[in-house]
């Protein structure tokens, strides 16, 4: 059905004193190809209008034409920094749909790998956030540690970034004792390096001035926009999918969900730094309690799902991911919906950027920690 084509992004009616600035698809400060049309009065933003779709790949249509195992590599390409969480979500969704069992050892190793991925994603966010604020050094320091995590994960998954490690029913292969020892060594070493990050950045006066009381999100807005993740927890609402609807054995581990009451960029920063520490705790507990056993249960070679629908939620480093599958029987799903966290988190940016300075708007964009290919799917 045809709708009249509306001229969507015209820049007229701006007024004589104001101008329109294109925070273009190519910009060092937007994390990915995001275009925001800013109407500005000097340095102040009057109106911000995000334009999406530069990375749109029709993942949902592709999933309708592929069988369930064939979609596995596609899912991790959406959020390449937190790929294991997406991988886990897809695997859990299909397992729920087809009622596959997962052995306990596989669940524990899944948790270890996903938490390592979360730490590496937060480290990269830390470096990129500081890069947006103008400090060049933290980025390189974070990448040094991140390389160690990437090396550890490469040993078991074979990839450095877009992991496709989990399979339906468990894992493709087991991990050995040496790998677990290496993870523990990494944790011990990383704990000695984490205070260094805090020394460099967290106490810095300039950093405080740039991030305190900047970009405050009120808890009242959160439910209306559907926010989730560290952004929501930075505003004081205690919502973490790992505690809300535990999956893959997360209810066995003892960890806290860090919450900050301020709702500004500094609050979100503190939440993410605390989450790194909590992830280290979870990994230690998981390694301490890993049972022996198989890592993959018997799953038919050709996966034919029964009719029905299923929704699975997972906590990615950015927030709550929901995968909703509608199946009418057969090898391919009828409809797949990926509800990505950055989509909702970006929708509040237009409201927050109004009245801010350009420098602050970019600090806010950095603290929202978005991955644009995930928004565009």
């Amino acid at each position: 059905m045809n709708r009249p084509i509306q001229p969507t992004y015209t820049l007229d009616k701006v007024g004589e004193e104001n101008f329109a600035l294109n925070l273009g698809p190519q910009h060092p400060g937007t994390h990915g190809v995001l275009r925001v049309i800013l109407h500005m009065d000097g340095e102040y933003i009057l109106k911000a209008d995000p334009v999406l779709g530069y990375g749109h790949r029709m993942q949902e249509k592709i999933a309708e034409n592929m069988t369930y195992p064939q979609t596995l590599p596609y899912v991790s390409r959406m959020d390449y920094l937190g790929a294991l969480s997406y991988n886990l979500a897809w695997v859990l969704a299909v397992e729920k749909l087809c009622q596959f069992e997962v052995p306990e050892r596989a669940e524990v190793i899944r948790v270890i790998a996903t938490e390592l991925n979360r730490i590496s994603s937060h480290l990269l966010w830390w470096g990129a956030f500081l890069l947006d604020l103008g400090g060049f050094t933290p980025f390189l320091q974070a990448l040094t540690d991140r390389e160690r995590i990437l090396d550890i994960l490469e040993e078991i998954t074979g990839s450095r970034l877009t992991y496709c490690y989990f399979r339906f029913g468990g894992l493709p292969s087991d991990v050995d004792e040496e790998w677990l020892t290496r993870v523990l060594d990494f944790i011990k070493e990383f704990r000695t390096r984490l205070p260094r990050y805090h020394d460099l950045v967290t106490g810095n006066v300039i950093f405080h001035h740039r991030s305190k009381d900047v970009g405050v999100i009120l808890p009242f807005d959160a439910a209306g926009y559907g926010l989730s993740g560290p952004i929501l927890r930075g505003s004081g609402i205690d919502f973490d999918v790992r505690k809300h609807e535990p999956y893959s054995g997360y209810d066995r581990y003892d960890f806290e969900v860090p919450v900050d009451q301020n709702g500004d960029c500094l609050g979100r920063y503190n939440v993410r730094m605390a989450e790194i520490e909590q992830s280290l705790r979870i990994i230690e507990q998981a390694i301490g309690s890993i049972p022996e056993g198989p890592v993959r249960s018997k799953v038919p070679k050709l996966i034919k799902a029964p009719e029905g629908e299923v929704a699975v939620a997972v906590e990615t480093p950015r927030g709550q991911l929901v995968i909703y599958i509608v199946s009418e029987g057969g090898k391919k799903p009828y409809r797949v919906k990926y509800r990505v966290p950055s989509f909702a988190n970006l929708s509040i940016f237009a409201k927050m950027a109004r009245g801010q300075l350009l420098a602050d708007a970019l600090a806010i964009l950095g603290s929202l920690d978005m991955v644009i290919p995930e928004v565009d799917r």
Partner: protein, 148 residues
């Protein structure tokens, strides 16, 4: 009254019956089939009850010649996932918008409009979100085979 959860309370306010589903099997706590007029009052009750919007999307049931507009809501304090299904005729799919009640739904509705062609009546913004601004095709419909 003592053991009702926020979902039951919100549904009671608009007079809809609470139909629980098996959560471990499907990931949904409640799945409802509603008419399109019931959506806006229910959305207001849910917003007041502390629910947040997860997504607004659609499923193209081409064999039955309907679009099923799907809403997913959840609650921050208790795990209560609500799925609402509204059937709309395929050749003239118009649905009242909840964009003024849940501001985040505007983007979800924009995406559903451009992907399926469902019009959301009263949505503050209905331009294309992910597709180019002059796209007039609807990719996620089952009879879409490509842009020539």
């Amino acid at each position: 009254m003592a053991t009702t959860n926020p979902l039951q309370r919100a549904l009671d306010k608009v007079g809809i019956e609470y139909q629980p589903t098996e959560f471990p099997n499907s990931g949904l706590h409640c799945s409802l089939v509603l008419e399109k007029e019931q959506i806006q009052p229910l959305a207001r009750a849910l917003a007041r009850g502390g629910f947040f919007i997860e997504t607004v999307t659609a499923v193209d049931k081409i064999k039955d010649k309907v679009f099923e507009c799907i809403y997913l809501f959840n609650h921050y304090e208790e795990s209560l996932r609500l799925l609402i299904r509204v059937s709309l005729p395929r050749n003239r799919a118009v649905q009242p918008s909840i964009g003024k009640i849940f501001p985040g739904a505007v983007w979800h509705e924009r995406e559903t409009t451009e992907m399926f062609g469902i019009q959301f009546d009263g949505c503050p913004d209905s331009r294309n979100l992910l597709l180019p601004e002059d796209a007039d095709f609807h990719p996620l419909c089952k009879d879409f085979s490509g842009v020539s």
